[in-house]
Symmetry: C2
């Protein structure tokens, strides 16, 4: 095993404004053997998530920042090559914090077994992975939907947003998605069953929100922040709930984050805005997996992955996220199963 | 009765930026008789509240805006002169939406009886009135304090803030007040029993918050918005609760409201920010009155009123609020009891 060479993407500089290739370094190092308690994994797919932008910043957050010179943090799916830990054997398929690299060697507690026969592998990084858990627990726990209520979700064609809208339909709600471009919007309504979709790139957001949410907004699942958050705040109903999942429109802003200037709508409408972090729900992941897998099997949920090949494309592929160019869960395919 | 002349402050123009005298008009009109179901009240005290600034703006809120040409809306305390409604008789002392005028004639349902022997009259516009209910229900219901937690309150020397800090002490919390100037800050600590007070006019707010909230902030009761809200957001603990009561620093801003640019602290810390409107608690006012009156009687709460004489001073006295010049509950004394 010691002869294996591991190509790795390391964080070279803390980005200022938009992430760029020069913030990373593509390096090669020999693969160490699995120490006691560790598992060596051949990484097949790397998940590219908006949260990665936050991990690149210095400062206090829900996880420590990735250190300069360290392999870039990422969730990945791979196959066990060697195991020095009970419960894992070569050939097992696992999901965990692999990092952006070809081989990952880590404590077995950071990996979870998945069954490769039950779903396409990239789905374990999407609807049956962290984005699925984020949609399931974030929406149900924070928004507390009731049948007949209206939910708006931004980033609606993204990995999390598409699931939130579909779960809302399962729960009997009216689901209105906000996404960029007519193709994504048509997909939301025609393929995923959203009641309406708003193209923030071409439509007047306040007018479209008024049109598609004639009874106001009871819940908002926010992935984007910025002007879209402000437009939705202006349409809140009494006792509305906003789940703060992310703010992708703000992550790469060199000028700092724009606060929601309509936040006093929370006061007038006795509404609440609440943040959550999916990691808190790890003890309940089994519940989420079971529900999502069930709905997928029944055809009530549809999942879509946007698979890009080649570890070497990592920086450019990550940028697709921040430009809104991905369509479905963005994953990097770096080795054949 | 028809010969009585009523001096009234009417809204003449919607203010742009800071309120000014020219936004109002001081008029005189004869007092009409009480129609069936109505009560005619001689107004003795008029309550001046930050919320009045919002009522002067056009647009959707929790109450309709005061119309141009209408008597300025205000809560007041007065004595019944004539009653055409059951349950009220001349000489009764009542609190209700009197408006800024000498005589108020309104449906009896807008008035509540109070007992003039139990407290100084202006207190029924403060600790035993709307500000008291705001502090009691807003803090207890939205923040859900637990003993040992740290609460920060802004506008802490104001009518609501001073009560929030004292209720926090009753509940076994650490109370840190933010107020303007050394006199108010000394009052909070030495007279009201706050654990610490921060003078936002002279201190470095982030540094002082760090010093006085060494274990972080579990609850924030916000009366002011703006930079102070942002500074507190940066110190939140996990699962912190922010009660949005007001944003007096923003109400007179001609450039629009500044949103809290640190709002993503809610996400990182799984925290929530929630608005409330005291009017929703009217069905529970008796509970609030009983608790506050009990604590006042036991010496656990102290109340302070800032009484200014003369109906004709209304516009200038109102401005004291927005300049932070009042010290305690601001009321206008317009007639002898």
């Amino acid at each position: 095993m010691a002869a294996l060479q591991n190509r790795q993407w390391r964080l070279k500089a803390r980005p200022v404004g938009m992430v760029k290739r020069a913030d990373f370094e593509f390096t090669t190092a020999p693969v160490p053997e699995a120490k006691p308690g560790e598992v060596l994994v051949r990484v097949l797919y790397v998940s590219l998530d908006p949260a990665m932008r936050g991990w690149m910043n210095d400062g206090k957050s829900y996880l420590p920042p990735v250190g300069l010179g360290e392999v870039m943090r990422a969730i990945g799916l791979g196959r066990v090559l060697a195991s020095n830990a009970p419960g894992f054997k070569p050939g097992d398929t696992v999901v965990g914090m692999t990092g952006v690299q070809e081989y990952a060697n880590a404590d077995a507690k950071f990996y979870m077994q998945v069954d490769p026969r039950l779903a396409p592998l990239p789905r374990y990084l999407g609807a049956l992975g962290m984005p699925g858990m984020t949609a399931y627990f974030g929406f149900l726990d924070i928004c507390q939907p009731k049948a007949g209520e209206t939910v708006v979700v931004s980033g609606a064609a993204g990995a999390v947003g598409a699931l939130v809208g579909q779960i809302a339909k399962v729960k009997g709600c009216r689901a209105v998605g906000i996404a960029g471009g007519p193709v994504k919007c048509a997909y939301l309504v025609q393929e995923l069953g959203f009641d309406a979709a708003i193209d923030y790139k071409s439509e007047n957001l306040p007018a479209s929100l008024k049109q598609h949410c004639p009874d106001g907004v009871d819940m908002y699942f926010d992935n984007v922040g910025g002007d879209i958050l402000d437009a939705v705040l202006a349409r809140l109903n009494r006792k509305a709930r906003i789940a703060l999942c992310g703010a992708i429109s703000q992550y790469n802003s060199a000028g700092g984050i724009a606060g929601p200037k309509n936040y006093l709508s929370l006061l007038i409408n006795r509404a609440r805005m609440e943040g959550f972090v999916v990691l808190d729900y790890i003890p309940r992941y089994a519940e989420g997996m079971q529900a999502l897998a069930g709905w997928l099997a029944e055809g009530k949920l549809k999942a879509r992955e946007d698979v890009v090949a080649g570890l070497e494309t990592f920086p450019e592929t990550l940028l697709k996220l921040f430009r809104g160019e991905n369509f479905g869960k963005l994953v990097l395919h770096i080795a054949e199963a």
